[in-house]
């Protein structure tokens, strides 16, 4: 399988503190990857770099078969190129309905003129209903998303991500604050999504990661500590030390 995203030798320093230290990371198309690591390991910062929120001091971020650099692009351009992101804290537009949120995320032209002229086509509305069904919000389409429960907001955000039809999905701690049943549903959605695209999931919860059943990358102090199957990395002495240390 060809490489979709290649991060190599990336470093970021915040006020003298090295949050990311010579990090290299690769993911192929249609691959699921879990990223674990203690708090402050640089997992969120890694996503910030890929999505254009944070500019690294050095290193390269190469994207797609044409090997374009994401570093020269702004957030909107990177998103248009096919990188979708779910934040650690659920961020949906609370003042707007579930349908409005999904319609905004739906893969369509993003320019202001096109958006001004846009009327939802029947196909688009069907897509929205299908998505809502997938994330268990079919009966909540016209509710203000601010009224949803925490878990439902997490799902709505995942739904918005899927609506974007990205080639790479970056998901930051999706299971935080979810009930066990909700977690299971979330796993199903992510596993399903990874069949057709690359998915990177940051998660603390080992059970959750086990259920994803995929290759795991362990981050520590801004660099890759270990990589491989979950059993492989959890038996790695370095990983055990880092986790036991805490």
């Amino acid at each position: 399988m060809s490489t979709l995203l290649e991060v190599s030798g990336v470093s970021v320093t915040f006020d003298g503190f090295r949050a990311i230290n010579n990090l290299s990371f690769q993911i192929a198309e249609a691959e699921m990857r879990a990223v674990i690591g203690p708090n402050g390991a640089g997992k969120t910062t890694f996503m910030d770099i890929v999505t254009g929120k944070t500019r690294p001091d050095e290193g390269r971020v190469i994207w797609g078969e044409k090997s374009v650099s994401l570093l020269g692009m702004n957030e909107a351009k990177i998103a248009q190129a096919g990188v979708g992101r779910k934040f650690q804290k659920p961020t949906v537009f609370e003042d707007q309905s579930v349908q409005e949120n999904l319609l905004m995320a739906l893969q369509n032209k993003r320019g202001w003129l096109a958006v001004l002229r846009y009327r939802p086509s029947p196909e688009d509305l069907v897509k929205v209903v299908d998505l809502a069904e997938k994330i268990g919000l079919k009966d909540q389409l016209f509710r203000k998303s601010g009224e949803l429960s925490h878990g439902q907001k997490q799902w709505l955000e995942i739904g918005m991500l899927l609506a974007q039809e990205p080639r790479l999905l970056l998901v930051d701690e999706p299971a935080a604050g979810m009930t066990p049943a909700e977690r299971e549903h979330t796993t199903d959605i992510l596993v399903e999504a990874a069949k057709t695209r690359a998915v990177v999931v940051v998660e603390h919860d080992m059970e959750f990661v086990r259920r994803l059943n995929c290759k795991v990358t362990v981050l520590h102090e801004g660099a890759v500590l270990a990589e491989g199957s979950l059993d492989h990395v959890t038996s790695d002495q370095n990983v055990i030390d880092v986790y036991l240390e805490r």
């Binding site: 999505t51 909107a76 961020t91 202001w112 958006v115």
Partner: protein, 393 residues
């Protein structure tokens, strides 16, 4: 498409109906076309109020819906007024000059006519030459286009610089205040080409029109009502649908909108420029009714008042902006015009001319603290309750 838009926004129809009824009522009560009862000067006040409602709509779209607290939109309003004022003043002076020179024994040359007009207009600032910016003042068509083009271009350049550097929040508000202050200070200069602090005057007289002010005032009143109606439909269309969705999303979390792939800067620039153009049209209708425009009109405080009107009326709902602008500006006219009875407390007499600003400031604070949705929010409570009742049945 049109039908579904109106169907989805019944408030637009209600607003247009109320506006039409109001216009009809005022016309019937006017000196010029009706039975009388409303003075011509009050009709002008009402016409000007409609223009203020229009710029309040623009303010609501940029602030209430998009979350950009621009404190500079009165600059665009004033520029719109200046652009139409230039033609009004030039053309009227030209007619007067031609008239007075007609009696001369030797017919005047074109150059002499131009010189005489220049003398008339720029005498007060010790000059008689036409500045370059008056090049098109003899053409109504071009000046009408400039009403939109000049403020639009200023907004485009300012917005491009500010949004591209991602200036947001209070910093952007301060920047817009600086813009309107700089423009006002520039116009105050005698060699600004727009008669310094004298401004442009006599704008209530339409060149070549012999109709009395009783009639002219109503023409402008109608034009203002039509512009407000059109502006309301335009703004309602802008803030509905997916475009409106993106605007409100930018207001609530612009970073998130970027990660959805929307160019936030571009949307801000578009809506900033568009609302500036609406403000400019409002200004171009306002100043012929006011009769005079001078740089004091675009002092920074004017744009702050605009924000206060929209806040009191209820931002994020278009009728709220209209109610706020109409209510507060009419009250302001009443209080500061000396009509409001002073209150004698025995030991102290409250003179409203002095105390109105205190009252306004206090209301602003109270509304912000206790009724963040403003007067429009009260209407929401009413309609929500009715909707809930209907849902129950």
């Amino acid at each position: 498409m049109k039908r579904s838009f109106i169907a989805k926004n019944p408030s637009v129809l209600i607003f247009l109906a109320i506006l039409a009824l109001f216009t009809l009522l005022i016309t019937v009560m006017s000196e010029g076309f009706g039975v009388g009862g409303i003075s011509t000067s009050f009709i002008k006040t009402l016409g000007k109020t409609l223009c203020l409602c229009l710029i309040a709509l623009a303010m609501d779209v940029i602030w209430g819906y998009t979350g950009i607290l621009s404190l500079g939109h009165f600059a665009f309003f004033g520029l719109g007024g200046y652009m139409i004022g230039m033609w009004l003043m030039y053309e009227r002076t030209r007619l007067i000059v031609v008239d007075s020179l007609a009696q001369a024994e030797i017919p005047p040359t074109d150059g002499e006519v131009i010189d005489a007009i220049g003398n008339q207009i720029f005498g007060v600032v010790g000059s008689s030459d036409f500045p370059l910016i008056w090049a098109f003042a003899d053409s109504l068509m071009i000046q009408l286009m400039l009403v939109v083009l000049v403020p639009g271009l200023l907004a485009l350049v300012f917005g491009w610089l500010a949004f591209r550097s991602r200036v947001t929040g209070v910093y952007l508000s301060i920047l817009t205040q600086a813009m309107t202050l700089a423009l006002a200070l520039y116009l105050f200069q005698n060699d600004s080409g727009l008669r310094g602090n004298n401004g442009l005057s006599g704008l209530q007289n339409l060149p070549g029109v012999t109709a009395s002010q009783d009639h002219v005032s109503l023409w402008f009143f109608w034009a203002s009502a039509a512009a407000l109606g059109g502006g309301y439909v335009l703004c309602a269309w802008l803030v509905s649908g997916k475009f409106g969705s993106v605007l409100r999303a930018i207001r609530d979390n612009e970073a998130r909108v970027r990660f959805l792939g929307y160019s936030v800067e571009m949307y801000k620039l578009v809506i900033f420029t568009l609302t500036a153009c609406i403000a400019a049209i409002a200004g171009a209708l306002y100043y012929p009714q006011a009769g005079i425009i001078n740089p004091a009109e675009i002092a920074p405080i004017a744009s702050i008042y605009l924000a206060v009107w929209v806040a009191i009326g209820g931002r994020g709902r278009l009728y709220g902006a209209v109610i706020g602008a109409a209510f507060v500006s009419l009250l302001s006219t009443w209080f500061t015009g000396g009509q409001a009875p002073d209150i004698n407390l025995g030991f102290y007499t409250i003179k409203w001319v002095d105390w109105w600003l205190v009252l306004l400031g206090l209301s602003f604070v109270l509304v912000t603290l206790f009724a963040p949705k403003g007067i429009g929010g009260l209407i929401d409570i009413f309609t929500d309750r009715r909707a809930a009742k209907e849902a129950k049945q």
